[in-house]
Amino acid sequence: MPSLSTKVGLWTRHRMLRRLVGRVAGVVGVLFAVSTLTFLAAHLMPGDPALTILGGAGSHPTRVELLAIDRQYGFDKSLVVQYVTFTGHLLLGNLGTSYILKERVSTIIAQQMGPTFVLTIVSLVLSWVLAVGGTLLTARRNRYTSAFGSGAEIFVAGLPQYWLGIILMVVFAFRLRWFPVEGGTGVAGLVLPALTLAIPLAGFIGQVTRDEFSSVMEQPFVLSARTRGMGDTGVRVRHALRHSILPGITLSGWALGSLFSTAVIVEAVFARQGLGQVLVNAVSQRDIPVVIGVTLLVAVVYVVANLLVDLVYLVADPRLRSAG
């Protein structure tokens, strides 16, 4: 009966839609809780924010000056009023004013977001290229090649980014002079920072991809492809690779978030402009609105990236649509 199959189709689609809506609602809820949590955390902060605004512990502002600041920034209001104002402004895209730079946080972030975003995306792509390349070349080859491949992945995944960055800088910028030492915003200046972020991540993605690759190579369909006379490269690329990148895709959501936060370190090493510099300065000067702004941005990127990964999965893997 044709009507039954269309009914089933509609039903599954409806169910998928419900799951989708549920996921998006969940994400909105999480983000709301995240903003509340950061707000509360910032207000637990010991010390007087008005003092920070007027120049920190070294300065000796008068009581009148402090009170004026309290009124200007609304510190004299109750916590509830401040929270409502904060949330209202947040919904309108207003993240407040920096205590130190006396500039709107949204402006600061908009100015510095570009380089960090480019760095993060380039690193993610680069690490995928490295991981997939490494897997294709070394997984399930002879014993020594495979051992070398997986050993290298474990080693590389454990490297702290700042140290890797320094090594790359010493070797390729100071000794060999292939790349500019620091500051460059062009393509040449992007190579070393991107490699610094990509190499450890490639180690992580590579480990997962390799595991999956090895088990897929044992599957009957691989054997049947071989008996049909398909060459080794064909089997690897056309059959095994497709399956083995799936778990890596799940990791990518997490990876994007962690890249964004480790970019902070790499930007410091290479003295690169970007959100990292902004965040480190804000953290050390306790410029809370900027810290909250950058933190919220990273949280949004992280959560949305994970949501997208889930959605891609639902589309890519039909098995998930019917399950629970």
Binding site: V30, L37, F155, P160, I167, E218, G257, S284
Partner: protein
């Protein structure tokens, strides 16, 4: 392992044990090297004067920027202090920070995870939502946020690293508790008429904690890296102290003239982390494989 099992089915049991023995041998070597390194670092942390004759903060301006040589194995810094001595003396601080941060993270995680696992539906849902919110921050970012709120310093550094890594552990512990709670032997204990409190303290908690040994071991490596990252960014231990991350921070301005100031403290962190992590993996294999592996 899937690989060797399928191979074994095809080519017979003889080959399988042969392959496994070879793999074990090279694996053993790595484990022994790691253990040796951990012992070395521990000795350096307990009594650094056993491994280095000088003092870590003797300033000798006549000997500044000496490249690595026999008299100064790892060179000297701008004030003429011996880098090898400083790396040895830095082990204590780096190790203690790593251990303490992991310990605190574990305590937080055990409280949250066990409460969620045993506390019934509502408590579980509540803690799970809370963890989900924390998961919206990549771990290192949570540590940054913590430092921003409570200011820089050693104590905040330790707690910040702990707070950053606790949510991940908590989720794993919760899963573990739930798995153990539903297992046959717990059911059997209930069926034998043991009181819930007794089952929880004798069966569920000890069995759920077992994989934590591995988790904690690997966690120490991560904590050391994170803590040194904070120090490197100037948000943790301040430079005159020989903590490894702080040494890297202090050497940053001289990378061009004195590469050894940046390479060796970093190498200490890398080797230490690698050793701790591979020991963790070894324990994990022991646990997973049971008696046979």
């Amino acid at each position: 392992m899937v690989t060797s099992l399928t191979e074994a089915l095809v080519v017979g049991p003889g080959i399988e044990t042969h392959v496994r023995r070879r793999r074990r041998l090279s694996f053993r070597l790595g484990v022994w090297l790691s253990a040796l390194l951990v012992v070395f670092v521990t000795v350096a942390a307990v009594d650094p004067s056993l491994l280095a004759s000088g003092a870590p903060d003797t300033i000798n301006l006549g000997h500044s920027f000496i490249a690595p040589s026999w008299s100064h194995l790892l060179g000297t810094d701008p004030s003429g202090r011996d880098v090898y001595t400083r790396v040895i003396y830095g082990a204590r601080q780096s190790l203690v920070i790593g251990l303490l941060a992991t310990l605190i993270a574990m305590v937080i995680a055990i409280i949250l995870g066990v409460t969620a696992g045993l506390g019934g539906r509502w408590v579980d849902a509540l803690i799970n939502r809370f963890l989900e919110v924390l998961f919206a921050f990549p771990g290192l970012l949570l540590a940054f946020l913590f430092v921003a709120i409570f200011g820089t310093g050693v104590v905040t550094e330790v707690v910040a690293v702990a707070v950053g890594s606790a949510p991940g552990y908590a989720r794993m512990i919760r899963g573990q508790v739930l798995a153990v709670k539903g297992s046959g032997y717990v059911e059997a204990a209930y069926a034998l008429g043991h009181a819930p409190r007794r089952v929880i303290s004798r069966q569920i908690v000890p069995n759920a904690m077992r994989p934590l040994v591995v988790l904690a071991t690997m966690g120490v490596g991560q904590s050391i890296v994170w803590a040194s990252s904070l120090s490197f960014l100037g948000l943790g231990v301040a430079p005159p102290s020989p903590e490894w991350g702080a040494m890297l921070d202090a050497g940053r301005d001289y990378t061009l003239q004195a590469w050894w100031l940046e390479i060796f403290p970093g190498l200490a962190i890398v080797l230490c982390t690698l050793a701790v992590t591979s020991l963790g993996r070894y324990f994990q294999q022991k646990l997973d494989g049971g008696i046979g592996a």
